[in-house]
Every structure is written in C-alpha cells, then in structure tokens.
Symmetry: C2
Subunit: 301 residues, 2 copies
C-alpha cells in the first residue's frame, strides 16, 4: 500500500492542527493517576503484568481520546510495554492501531538496529504487523541495517527517524567525538541521513528519512538545521528533560516548520502539578500550552 | 540475588563443556523443518502469529533438548519473536526460562540503547522479568544509557555485551571512521567498554562487560583482542555470515579463552544440508563440528 510521502503527511498534519506536538507514550505504573490504579485491583487479574497492562490501556485510551486536536502524533516508547511482558506487547500493538484510528500519526519509538536479516524482522514487526507510520532506528550498524526500513519508506510511505544527536547528558561521549575530517560523529551521521533520504523527498522539500535531534543542545541543534535543510527533525527532551520552547527556535526552518517535538512525562503526568482538575483535562491543558509555545518559537504565533 | 561474576560463569562453562559455541535462536518460519510446520496447521490456531509461535516453540524446545552438552549459551534474537507480536513475546520469555533450566547461559540479543529512564525499563524487561543472564546493548547514547544494565552486572551477576565492531558489510561506515586522535570509532568504543568493566573483573581477569566483535573482520578482531585483554568477546558472523574457525584464532587469548562464538542459521537449519537425518541430529552434528573446529582454532585441540 502506497500512502504517499511520510514527510508530507507529517507536515500537512502540522498545518492542519497548527501544532508541532508529539505525545510520548511512556506509561509508568507508579505515576498513573490513582483513580485509574484503584479501578484495577491486583486480585482481578491473573498476573501483575496483566493488571498493569489494563491500567495502561485505560490511561492511554483516555489520553488518546482528548489530545487528537492538539497533537500531530504519538510516540509509544516500547520499553515501557516490553517491561510488562507479553501483555504489554499486546497492548503496544493495540495502542498503535487505536492511535492511528484516532487521527494521530504513530511513531514507534523502538530505536532498533541490527544486521540486515534481523532488521527485516524488526521492520516487519513494527511497520507491517503493528502498523506504525514511522519508527526510530539506531545508525551504528550502517546502511545495510537500515535498508529494510528505508524500503518501506520508499514503497509504503513509512517514515524513519535515525538517531543523530540524542537528548541525554552522556550523548557527547560518542556523538560529539571529532573525526579526522574535523566533523563531529553526529554531524557525519546527519550527512548520511540526508543522503539516505535523497530518494524520498516530498512536495515540501523534506525527506521521509528524518533525524532524532535532542532539544537539550541548543546550538548544536541549530547548526544541524543549517547542515541538513531537507531532513525533518524529531525532537525529544522537551518538558521533563529540561528543554523549553525558546531553546528550540533554531530547529525550525525559515518557514517555521521541519521539526516536531516530543513530550512524554510532562503531559502524561500533568495532573500531578495541577491539583483539583481531572487528569485528562490536565494533560490537555499541558498539551495546549506546549502547542502554543512551540508555535510562537517557530515564528508562527 | 548475587550470582557471582558473569564472566567467570561464562568461562567456567566453556571449560566444563570444552566449547565456545553459542547457539543463536533466530527462528524463521519458512525454514522450520517441514515436519514441524505440518504438525501445526493454520486452522488449529486463532491467528497466524499463534500458529507460528507454536511451531517455533516445538522447534526451539527440540533444539534446546539436544545441544546442552555442546553449547555454553543460547542467544535468542528477539526480533524474530517480536515479528509474531504478543504470542512471540510470550514465547521469547518462555524460551529464556527454559534454556536457563536446561543448563545454558542465556544472552538476550536485544541490542537496546536509549536514555536512562527508558534503559531502566529495558533492563528490567530482559534481565529481571524475562530473566536472561546477559544482554547485548548499543553504545550510541553513552554511559548513562547503559548504567541500568551495568548496575545489574555489578549487583546481580548479569552480563552485558556492548556492540563494538559488528559483522555486517556496512559496519565500516560508522564504526571504522577515523577520529581526530587517530583511533577508529570502534577502537574508542572498545576502550570505553574496558573502562566500564573495570569494576566487574572476575577471577579469570575478564570483566562482565563484554564486546560484540564480528568474526568477519579477521585483522581488526585480533587487534581488538590485544587492545582490551580483559574484555570478553561475543563473536557473531560464524557460519551463514561467512566466518570460519581459522578466521577466529586471533580473538582468543594466549590461554585459548576469552571469546564465545555464535552461530544461528547454520545450526538451526543444518537439516537442509544433511538430507536423510533428523533435524535435531543435523543440528547436533553441526554444533559438534563447530565446537571441535573452534577448540582447535583457540589452540586447545
């Protein structure tokens, strides 16, 4: 099934919703609203994994129901589902389908990377079987490990976001290493991403092969935006990890587009900081504030 | 639960079984022996995923039953389980438990890498919940992304194998990049692995933080052995990917130890090249030939 260019679909959703917000689905049982946890007592389930999966299901369904006008995409972080075993994996697949049906693009945050035959199995698992619109991948193995994902990008309109500069404090250890050519490793990876995407540019000049660029590195992010103008950015690090909207201005292009920004914990657990209102309303308010702040940061507000 | 040092357990198993063989569990439905496939007709299951999981279960159980004398460890490649969805994930967890009960060390080949809070969820999923003895991880994020795995190594006797130089053809694109210091990137990563393991050396001088070093790069592998003498190697690439025992001699130390070698497809589907004998017998014969060839290559035969 050819579904058009992923970058076009993503950036059209940005214009339609006037939002750069991606909601990270990183469910943590200890922080699920107490009312949801109390509705699923351990004794009602065969295993702890099933009980937690039922909580996650109610919580995530509630969030998906109320954020579709304000978020362009959701990004399920599969680690939090895997941590519940098979019950969690089943929920992951259900959440991907349900989010798609609710009008979100779905970016499966799996960060997989392996040799070609194994990469084919991963690409099948997440883009075909689970049915996500895009995935995150790790570049350490090189081109042949990414080709199964790229093929689905060219032939089936899927998106791929390659790790370039991650948001965590230790990211400098490898990613900022200076090469003999004078570039940093992450700049070299960005240049490779640009080349990988040259066959899948959409009508807006952006490719379906994007880059993960942490919002926590202000000047490096802005330099990357200039280095690879045709590569869309998926930006983690907003909210709980410390990046603010004004730090991200340099990640948008001159037209005020080309990047989407993820926030997980700050939206999911917004109720913790907004006492007296329902958790869904708290998440919606947090999402709308983020949406407005980013729209301004991109020079659109 | 402190279970002693992983490197000690691994290298003691090598001596006890006189074997460096790790059997890669990469089940591929199209190559499962026809007799196994015929025993599980599609109509007997609710979904294709469940049917394939039942085939994989019978096939892998049959292999685990007959290779325990000759293989020190098994390495389930989770991509092939994920490709079946929740039924595959459930089988992955069952295979990890079953292999441990059958006297194999279990190296979960997951190659995960993510920011710290997410890495904690992955470490929990594979080392705590599934209960593997060791995992493979990707170094691109740096130290903070690996600390949840390292902590379980120090406190619970778990092992960690960090990708250093992978076996695939494109591995040179990033891993062989020359740094400003004159090292290659993979040499720098190897040096980091050595430092990460300095707190978990066992009685044989090897650390519980090991390196994945592809057997397909003969001279680079031997140079790595000299560079980081205390780092145990997990060596993929034998068999179907082309490495032969004589290519691997340089990966062992002067005592003829310090590395274990994985083969997946050449063992699992050995029956294809050995007509007229049962698939379990074919796998056992292949494993024993590999075992003997590696023992000689290590200078022990």
């Amino acid at each position: 099934m050819i579904e058009g260019n992923f970058a076009d679909r993503l950036l059209e959703a940005v214009e339609a919703k006037r939002s750069f917000v991606v909601v990270g689905l990183d469910p943590d049982y200890e922080r699920i609203p107490p009312a949801v946890r109390e509705a699923h007592p351990r004794r009602a389930y065969d295993s702890e994994g099933e009980m937690k999966a039922a909580c996650f299901d109610e919580f995530l369904t509630g969030l998906l129901d109320c954020l579709a006008d304000d978020a362009v995409a959701v990004k399920p972080q599969i680690a939090y589902f895997e941590a519940l075993g098979a019950a969690g994996y089943e929920l992951y697949e259900r959440v991907v389908r349900s989010a798609g049906a609710n009008g979100y693009l779905v970016i499966a945050d799996v960060k997989r990377g392996d040799i070609g035959s194994t990469a084919e199995a991963y690409a099948h698992a997440h883009l075909d079987a689970a049915g996500a619109d895009a995935v995150t991948v790790n570049p350490y193995f090189g081109t042949d490990s990414l080709e199964p994902f790229f093929r689905r990008s060219r032939e089936e309109g899927k998106g791929v976001f390659v790790l370039v500069k991650t948001s965590n404090p230790s990211s400098a250890e490898l990613q900022d290493l200076e090469l003999a050519t004078g570039e940093t490793l992450f700049e070299r990876v960005a240049t490779m991403v640009d080349a990988w995407g040259s066959r899948s540019r959409g009508s807006r000049g952006y490719s379906s092969i994007g880059a993960v660029v942490g919002g926590t590195h202000r000047s490096q992010g802005a330099a990357l935006r200039r280095l690879v103008p045709g590569v869309p950015f998926l930006v983690p690090g907003y909210g709980a990890q410390g990046a603010k909207a004004e730090d991200l201005a340099g990640l948008f292009d001159a037209q005020g587009t080309g990047a989407v920004v993820n926030s997980a914990r700050a939206i999911l657990y917004a109720y913790e900081k907004r006492p007296g209102i329902a958790w869904q309303d708290a998440a919606r308010s947090e999402t709308r504030e983020m949406k407005a702040a980013l729209w301004r940061a991109a020079g659109r507000g």
